[in-house]
């Protein structure tokens, strides 16, 4: 039998069908039905009229936004320095940044908790700050890696050309390197922002008693309210879709923008 690309894709297709498409259908079914299996929009309207669920969405967005911003501010310079500098062993260095990912994350957060306790004394006074620190710690490699990968593949001659044409370092960076590394930034953001909205384990472990989207879903499920919980999950999914489409649309522009220079 000839191994064509199509046959090689079968395992992935099966995976996709079983673990992405099927659960999604179940989710949609539960989200739009009530306890007796009838179609209803009550879960949907309920979400948008309840100040608590909206508040939770707001709070999750805040945490996710700040976490992403902090990650980006740390990750971009790091990735840039690692990729552009002439370290011979930058591969090793990047591995050092990724290394924490090899350790179980609850363990890492527990360690982080002890360190923060030493610094702050009592963690309970700074729940928001601690959550952001914990999430940043947890998600930073997801931001560094894609950015590093795009910058490292950047063609040096483009920057040389920009400089030949009279650009100083600063404008070469802002008008060539930064736009060209945008795809990496965007996928980094997607990898950080969305999980940060739902990763309530970090909040639990760092003593933030406020619910975010993940814990809200959990609380609905443990109260046997599958329908409300599924609706929240679906709304999150919708937010992600919108987000991905928005960022995806911009990609093309930056590419051509860069090559035009």
């Amino acid at each position: 039998m000839r191994l064509s690309r199509k046959t090689l894709g079968i395992p992935y297709a099966v995976f996709l069908l079983l673990f992405v498409a099927a659960p999604l259908l179940v989710l949609i079914y539960f989200a739009f039905t009530n306890g007796s299996g009838q179609f209803t929009l009550a879960n949907f309207t309920g979400f948008f009229t309840d100040p608590n669920t909206l508040g939770t969405l707001f709070y999750s967005l805040c945490i996710a936004f700040v976490t992403t911003l902090v990650c980006l501010l740390i990750a971009y310079p790091t990735a840039y320095i690692l990729a552009r500098s002439r370290f011979r062993r930058s591969g090793v260095l990047i591995m050092l940044f990724v290394l924490p990912m090899w350790i179980n994350f609850t363990l890492r957060i527990t360690a982080m908790k002890e360190i923060l306790t030493m610094i702050e004394g009592n963690l309970a006074y700074w729940p928001f700050l601690n959550s952001v620190i914990g999430m940043t710690y947890d998600f930073l490699p997801f931001m560094i890696l894609p950015i590093y990968n795009t910058i490292v593949r950047l063609d040096d001659s483009l920057i040389e050309a920009a400089k030949d044409l009279g650009a100083n370092d600063r404008s070469a960076f802002f008008r060539v390197t930064l736009p060209l590394s945008a795809p990496g930034i965007l996928s980094g953001i997607a990898m950080v922002f969305l999980p940060a909205m739902t990763n309530y384990v970090v909040l639990d472990m760092l003593y933030n008693s406020t619910y975010i989207m993940g814990s809200l879903i959990g609380s609905y499920f443990s109260a046997y309210n599958w329908h409300g919980g599924s609706m929240i999950a679906l709304i999150l999914l919708a937010i992600i879709c919108i987000f991905t489409l928005l960022t995806g649309g911009d990609e093309e522009d930056t590419r051509t923008g860069g090559t035009h220079l």
Partner: protein, 572 residues
């Protein structure tokens, strides 16, 4: 282009997977299940091989019963103890060599001549278990808390215990022969829809709730009230359970503090009944009051914890911790290893008494009488005094079994908490010995209870001060004044492990169970909980909205402006 699209799809799928991840985390219990499933699979492999050998020998009864058991995580002895851990009781040594489940399989084969294979799995919370059952997991025997088996009873999901199970003349019916008269009474007196619990449920472990606290920072009085959770003196140094039922109970206790501690209420003739009504009050006013109170608690407490409370208590991050008695024993033990002394207080308003009990499910057992027999035998095997002690030693909770004719459970209690008199201490304390104490102790000895040599010596008129008598008759024989079951113990033990593992009758007198609420009541309580835990969007100040609005306008303007700018410079 096409490639780009594909990348986008991939990113979408990936994020969807990420989204699902926390949900997986929520189903932690399931993961643990899988683990234990593989564990039991290994076990069954072994027994499978063994029975294959047997098959040839006993081809006629090659029948095999499979029993699917689902229990709390870490709620049974897994064996493999060190030699040093042997519990040397008067009536013989007890040590856990093999996992309890394997011992049961062996015992059942030896006793009834039938091979039984136990598929053992675990759950994390009562709600997880219920969800697992609704989602189609089938078990024969499960061990939920009282409110959950009440729910299952009300939903007619359970098989009643057979008549043979209640036959106390059968030697192998360790449960009925050994159950504490006190627990038995509770199980017979509490009903749901006209049926007593005891028809369907056999107790396993029980306990009360209370406050573990650091006596150096907090006085016993301060810790002995649910109001400690909102006490500003301990701001951000107290943890609460992240569990709506437990938090509700504590909050009701605090909200109704004045009523619950008033002499008229305590001395009223139907105190126990009234207490239960008050503590299970779910009227809208109470729910509102509880919500207000819990919002205060949220501002005051260190955190709502699911599992970190014990560790935080032991490491000294917090000074008080709302805890179940079994976990309290664990915390106290652990802290002691670091020479850090913690105490346990039972709140003066009321304490929540809880029971975990074995129930058989219709979905699993059905009409299969062989299976039912095996399930009931499993309960009985766990109730055999030596196994009771193994489990208690291993998990720290208190068994419902008092032992009946078998003295070993009380001996174990004495082994753990009986006053240990060493010579030096005795010499020092001799002068302070109180005549009264020693007299009583002598009576106890005369009655033949102080079987321990050391205790016997101590009782010979040289009773050290600092030891007290702790009557446990209410639990072991049903007679609170029963002199056979008076434990001589160090005074400090009253507020330590002993007071939590075997609460005094006085603590028990203000205990209330928490019943199973109807669907509407549950919904109201859950709504209250969400109100407490969620950030309310109406709390966002106006300036934030203005700021956000400006940012959004700037963003849109920026994007549009950039497009214009690009067109201008690069054209198409």
């Amino acid at each position: 282009m096409k490639k780009k699209r594909r990348c986008q799809m991939l990113a979408l799928a990936l994020t969807a997977a990420f989204l699902a991840a926390p949900m997986n985390a929520m189903a932690d219990g399931d993961a643990a299940n899988a683990e234990s499933a593989t564990l039991s699979a290994e076990g069954t492999e072994k027994t499978g091989a063994a029975s294959a050998d047997k098959k040839n020998a006993a081809a006629s009864d090659g029948k095999k019963v499979t029993l699917r058991v689902c229990n709390w995580e870490e709620y049974i002895d897994l064996g493999d103890w060190d030699e040093e851990e042997t519990i040397d009781l008067e009536s013989g040594d007890i040590i856990g060599e093999n996992p309890m489940v394997e011992d049961f399989q062996e015992w059942y084969r030896d006793t009834y001549g039938v091979d039984v294979e136990v598929e053992y799995s675990t759950f994390g919370t009562n709600e997880d278990l219920y969800n697992m059952l609704t989602l189609g997991d089938v078990y024969d025997l499960v061990c939920p808390s009282e409110y959950m088996f009440m729910k299952l009873m009300a939903e007619d999901q359970l098989v009643p215990l057979s008549d043979a199970f209640f036959d106390e003349t059968d030697e192998n019916n360790y449960y009925m022969r050994g159950i504490s008269p006190y627990i038995r009474k509770v199980f017979e007196e509490h009903e749901i829809e006209g049926k007593p619990w005891s028809d369907f449920a056999a107790g396993y472990m029980w306990g009360i709730t209370g406050i573990v606290y650091n006596p150096e920072v907090m006085s016993h009085e301060e810790a002995s009230s649910w109001k400690v959770l909102s006490n500003p003196k301990f701001k951000r140094r107290v943890t609460v359970k992240d569990n709506v039922r437990d938090s509700y109970f504590a909050a009701v206790g605090a909200v109704k503090h004045d009523l619950l501690t008033s002499p008229e209420f305590i001395n009223s003739p139907d105190y126990a009944k009234r207490l239960e009504e008050e503590m299970n009050d779910v009227s809208p006013e109470t729910i509102q009051a509880v919500q207000d109170y819990l919002q205060d608690v949220r501002e005051n407490a260190y955190s709502f914890e699911t599992d970190s409370g014990k560790a935080d208590m032991i490491t000294g991050k917090v000074v008080a911790n709302y805890q179940w008695s079994g976990d309290a024993v664990y915390s106290l033990d652990q802290a002691e290893e670091d020479d850090y002394i913690l105490n346990f207080a039972v709140p003066e308003e009321a304490t929540n008494i809880y029971f975990d009990g074995w129930v058989m499910l219709k979905a699993g057992i059905g009409e299969d009488s062989e299976k039912q027999h095996a399930a009931e035998a499993f309960i009985n095997f766990l109730s055999r005094p030596d196994n009771v002690i193994r489990n208690m030693y291993y998990i720290g909770y208190t068994s419902v079994i008092a032992g009946g004719d078998d003295p070993r459970v009380f001996e174990y209690c004495d082994w753990c908490y009986g006053a240990e008199e060493d010579e030096e201490e005795e010499d020092v304390d001799e002068a302070e010995g109180e005549a009264e104490d020693s007299e009583e102790a002598e009576v106890a000895e005369a009655d033949g209870e102080a079987e321990d040599e050391e205790d016997g010596e101590a009782a010979d008129g040289e009773e050290a001060s600092g030891t007290v008598e702790y009557p446990l008759g209410y639990f072991f024989s049903g007679d609170p004044a029963d002199e056979d079951f008076i434990l001589t113990t160090d005074e400090e033990q009253l507020q330590r492990q002993l007071g939590s593992q075997y609460p005094s009758e006085e603590s028990i007198s203000r205990s209330s169970i928490m019943i199973y609420f109807t669907a509407e009541q549950n919904e109201a309580i859950n709504r209250m909980w969400i109100n407490v835990r969620c950030f309310n969007i109406l709390d966002v100040p106006v300036w934030v909205w203005i700021l956000l609005g400006t940012a959004a306008v700037a963003l849109v303007a920026g994007i549009l402006g950039r497009k214009q700018w690009k067109k201008k410079y690069y054209g198409d």
